[in-house]
Symmetry: C2
Subunit: 330 residues, 2 copies
């Protein structure tokens, strides 16, 4: 089969669409999927550069999510049959013609959904639901601040939060992105190049009940400052560095909390596992997609052979929503 | 009536048992309690020194908990009658012959419980339950690390955690305190003067699922290091300072969280309020006290006129469990 291979770690040019050994048949509890499209994530860019090695047992091939058609099912798999239209949360291997995945990380794609577009859902949906709802307990009437509102995660988080009845504030670096966030339902729009997000937020609210942050150290103190009473800061990325000073008196004064999470290293099964998150998505988020309250937001679809261009595009920071790679016609 | 008054802020000697104006009758939803005993808390020592002003509307008199007998009930109070034996979580005012408190912060003291000893329960029980269970979600089979296992909060937390089926590790500064913690149910005993708690904990476990910390900045990095996967660090005191560096990559690697909480500034009613916590105590902790699984641990009882001596005693760090002040015979 074909897959994107890496000629060492480095820039986008190290990626080549090349022949690789076929996968083994699915083991117990696994399925294989003939990939129609794969989502591109910022983690892929880091893995390509050698900064984010796959966890033990995961494929070395890039790609944390895909859509496609079930090819084969392993022993013990009851829920899926060959030919089923699906998408899946992967630990790796999505930039390929076929991928192996635990059956518990697969989600159905109904006939009236666009199958390639469904490749944009699993990673953002799992990230957003696990952090906003399972970790932070976001509820109706609360205020959510999303940093990078125009990102794949941001555009999805706005829609999910609105569906839950929360108010949404976003930061982004351009008017175009902020306009897109507003169309999706954000009501407090902050251009971080021109405004201080803490000032804007405090002028328009009592602070954020939940903050979804991808900047890490650079924003830590200001995020804690921007929290409301009982506010929860959830850090899912460290694009602004790793270590920063935390003022515990400020945190204690508002009974705040700082959470840092990752999705990829979660266990396949058990409490807080990928299986649990995927089951929650099916129960709580898939109905929102079915009714049109949450839609995949896709900035660009490129052929998988142009993976390098897709990475450059995501890295340019000019996209709103997701970039997906098309592997085959559906 | 008489109460402990402060001649300015400073050492224990600023406290005097002196006549003060009588309290008004209880307002709507309030009761007054004739105090039999008042618990001494570290927060009282800070307030006496001028470092911990009472929240708006609270009594200026020291004392965050008491036991006694209901004197009067205000309009609308259904649950209590004059003469009921009770204890109560206060926002202040416990070092006095009588105190006013919202009826929702009062708990019953059955006939077969020691009434003065019940003054040792409300503050530690509310602190322990709200942090270990409501904030950190401690569950059966998990490992709890308690810093200052010999303190009032520590000795209560050991018993509650054991009743929940959790394992307990404690730090303390003397063999005597560690022996007491062991008798109460702690199984990992760490003398912080002689051992590094992270090393000991890691040699005996996969890390702590929950840490209850009163040291703040001084322990922040080591506490994060000592957390297990999905571990929750709950900071309820800052005896070791306020600001420290936080390594988000370490936290993210284990999907950990850092919570900082306070009890006194919680609202009287609503979500996460004192009323909610007290209702939970009555439902979940009071049965444990009734069956003897959780007992008040009292190091010393002194006459309220000797409040200065009680403060010196608590400050000496030689006590195991609580110090209480006796206000009248029951």
């Amino acid at each position: 089969m074909y897959a994107v291979t890496l000629d060492g770690f480095g820039g986008p040019e190290v990626m080549t669409w090349a022949q690789v050994p076929d996968l083994p048949a699915p083991g117990p509890g696994e399925v294989s999927i003939d990939v129609v499209a794969a989502g591109v994530n910022r983690a892929d860019l880091m893995q390509r550069q050698g900064f984010y090695p796959p966890p033990p047992g995961a494929s070395e091939t890039l790609g944390l999510e895909c859509s496609g058609v079930i090819a084969e099912i392993g022993p013990g798999v009851q829920d899926w049959r060959p030919g089923d239209r699906v998408c899946a949360l992967l630990s790796g291997g999505g930039y390929a013609e076929r991928v192996l995945v635990p059956a518990t990380q697969v989600l159905p794609v109904p006939e009236d959904w666009d199958l390639p577009a469904a490749a944009a859902l699993p990673e953002v949906a799992a990230t957003v639901w696990s952090n906003l709802v399972m970790t932070a307990g976001l509820r109706s009437g609360q205020l959510l601040l999303i940093h990078g509102g125009g990102s794949g995660i941001g555009t999805h988080a706005i829609q999910v939060a609105r569906s839950l009845g929360a108010r949404v504030a976003v930061t982004a670096g351009s008017k175009f992105k902020l306009d897109s966030c507003q169309e999706l339902g954000a009501s407090i729009l902050i251009n971080y190049r021109e405004e201080d997000f803490v000032e804007v937020l405090k002028s328009e609210s009592d602070g954020a009940d939940v903050i979804l942050d991808n900047m890490g150290a650079k924003y830590l103190a200001r995020n804690v400052d921007a929290l409301a009473e009982d506010g929860r800061l959830v850090i899912i990325g460290m694009q602004g560095g790793v270590t920063a000073e935390l003022n515990l008196a400020v945190l204690l004064g508002k009974r705040g909390s700082v959470h840092a999470t990752n999705l990829r290293r979660r266990a396949a099964t058990g409490r807080g596992s990928k299986a649990e998150i995927v089951a929650e998505l099916r129960r709580r988020v898939w109905p929102l997609v079915a009714e049109g309250s949450v839609v995949p937001v896709i900035s660009a679809e490129l052929p998988v052979a142009d993976a390098a261009e897709a990475h450059r595009l995501l890295d340019s920071d000019d996209t709103v929503g997701k970039v997906i790679l098309r592997v085959r016609e559906d």
